[in-house]
């Protein structure tokens, strides 16, 4: 398995995965914290009752929901498309690496990249908050939990896009689904959580640790049971679906 992951990093060469990731991470951090630097924002930064960190986390959640589905779709699609164009499925199969094993290796490689990327992204947003002059103490738990869950949701969707990109040769499909997902993820932030948890991309909203409560932004606790269920569902679906790829006649 580790050999397969190493191979995926070799294939990543010149796919511009890393630059793409860096640009997106910086952009998400910048967009999330943009409102902090607006004129009206200054008054709330030192007001602990206004909960400036929770407001920042909500803004971050919104931007992440908007961009992450597209970013993960593009990364997964680029990493998988090369197997179609390079006859890599057959090449690997003749070396004893089945398509499912290839898909798992791709998922592992992208997950390894997304781990520091998501962490750095959250740190950048926190840094921007401090830079903008928030003097209220930050509450680490909701930030850490949200970052961890955002990472896991991203990995879950990477799995979906990898499978889709492997299944359907036309990569407009997997990237298109990613864009649709971004729309649904933002939409899910605006509807009740009971509905969002029924939409796959809704989990970008379901994991939110901040919410609007009668005009006030507060920290909220997401439904961890549902989130866990979502991960289990995606994990088993990916296992079954990629195993199915092994049996497909090419």
């Amino acid at each position: 398995m580790t050999r397969g992951v190493l191979l995926e990093f070799r294939k990543m060469h010149r796919l511009r995965t890393l630059p793409l990731l860096i640009v997106l991470v910086v952009a998400v951090a910048a967009l999330s914290s943009a409102s902090l630097f607006s004129r009206g924002a200054h008054a709330t930064l030192n007001d602990s009752s206004a909960r400036p960190w929770a407001a920042l986390l909500l803004s971050y959640t919104m931007i992440a929901a908007m961009t992450s589905p597209i970013l993960t779709a593009v990364l997964a699609s680029r990493q998988t498309d090369i197997e179609h164009s390079g006859a890599g499925w057959t090449l690997s199969a003749t070396a004893g690496h089945s398509p499912s094993r290839l898909c798992w290796a791709k998922l592992a490689a992208l997950a390894l990249l997304l781990l520091p990327a998501t962490g750095v992204q959250s740190l950048l947003v926190l840094g921007a908050g401090t830079l903008a002059g928030i003097t209220v103490r930050v509450d680490p738990a909701p930030w850490a939990l949200y970052t961890a869950l955002l990472y896991l949701v991203n990995v879950a969707f990477c799995a979906l896009y990898i499978w889709l990109a492997a299944r359907v040769e036309n990569q407009l499909i997997s990237v298109g689904v990613g864009m649709l997902g971004a729309f649904l993820a933002v939409f899910a932030l605006l509807i009740p959580s009971e509905l969002s948890r029924l939409i796959p991309w809704g989990y970008y909203a379901v994991i939110s640790h901040a919410g609007q409560n009668g005009g006030e932004v507060t920290y909220v606790s997401p439904p961890y049971g549902w989130i866990l269920g979502f991960f289990v569902l995606v994990g088993s679906a990916f296992t079954l679906a990629t195993r199915h790829l092994d049996r497909a006649e090419r």
């Binding site: 050999r3 191979l7 294939k11 090369i82 164009s85 057959t90 003749t94 090419r250």
Partner: protein, 299 residues
């Protein structure tokens, strides 16, 4: 002689459509086995079954004398180099980087990779992006990928497809050389002249069925070369034999066996047709092939 590949009643059906129909392949060790057949006759499907890439509907496969099972496949696979349908190669990487990937996949050492690149004469292009390779270079890279593992069996699906005559000649020379080193080579083509001169054993496929398998010599012996009778009076001769065509040196007849030929010559001589010579036409493998597959069946 040992057979490296043996199949029994190998059959593949897609839904109702039988694509490979009861093949009994025998590929002797150390030969270049030419696997011929028109487009769509089932060559690629057969090769995919041999490599375990597609499951047969029916029949058995033995490689190196061992039945092909999921367990034996994992052990046999490292000794088979293959290229099926399109040559593999990641376009965004260089030839060398592609070879490195294959090397890591199979746990090869640098020397094996360098030698494979040198064998297909790609060393000087190894740092170019594969995307910018010509078709011939891509085919050669595909062969290098198959060769790097030092295989005992090479399975190449139309490796000469789309190459110019010089490129075909190069691959032909290479495959004969490899067979000389004891590597068994199974190579497919839909064009006879691409495989002629390199294959010592031929398997000819039409509509998924094997219509001939054996040595080149046996193939020639199976079909009767045309009889040419040299004469200055073809019109007179035509009056005495049926189905003859006029050629510059006289008349030409096909499907005439030895006894029939003797009989015919006697008849013409009795009829006072001046006979200057009687000979068999030089037969090309193409003619034999056409006889077997039926005219128009080939692309």
């Amino acid at each position: 002689m040992n057979n490296v590949i043996a199949t029994m009643d190998l059959t593949k059906r897609f839904k109702e459509h039988t694509v490979v129909d009861g093949l009994d392949l025998l590929v002797p060790q150390g030969t270049v086995y030419g696997f011929l057949g028109p487009n769509g006759s089932g060559k690629s499907t057969t090769m995919k079954m041999l490599l375990g890439l597609t499951r047969p509907t029916k029949g058995e496969i033995e490689l190196f004398g061992r039945p092909l099972t999921p367990v034996s496949r994992a052990e046999i696979l490292p000794s088979i180099g293959s290229m099926i349908e399109e040559p593999p190669g990641y376009g965004h990487l260089t030839g060398a980087e592609n070879m490195r990937i294959v090397g890591d996949m199979l746990g090869l050492v640098d020397r094996q990779i360098e030698r494979a690149l040198a064998t297909v004469r790609l060393t000087e292009h190894k740092d170019k992006l594969v995307r910018n390779y010509s078709l011939g270079m891509k085919q050669r890279l595909g062969i290098a990928m198959a060769l790097a593992r030092d295989p005992s069996l090479l399975v190449l699906d139309e490796p000469t497809n789309g190459l110019d005559p010089a490129g075909i000649e190069e691959i032909r020379t290479l495959l004969i050389e490899l067979a000389g080193q004891g590597i068994t080579v199974m190579v497919s083509s839909h064009l006879l002249d691409e495989i002629d001169k390199m294959a010592s054993v031929l398997g000819i496929l039409a509509n998924g069925r094997m219509i001939f398998q054996g040595t080149r010599e046996r193939l020639f012996n199976q079909s009767i070369p045309d009889l040419i009778i040299e004469t200055s009076a073809p019109d007179v001769a035509l009056g005495h034999v049926e189905g003859a065509t006029v050629v510059p040196e006289g008349i030409r007849l096909s499907g005439i066996e030895r006894d029939a030929a003797a009989h015919l010559v006697k008849r013409l001589a009795t009829a006072d047709v001046p006979i200057y010579g009687v000979r068999r036409a030089q037969q090309s493998l193409e003619d034999v092939f056409m006889d077997l597959t039926g005219r128009g069946g080939l692309l």
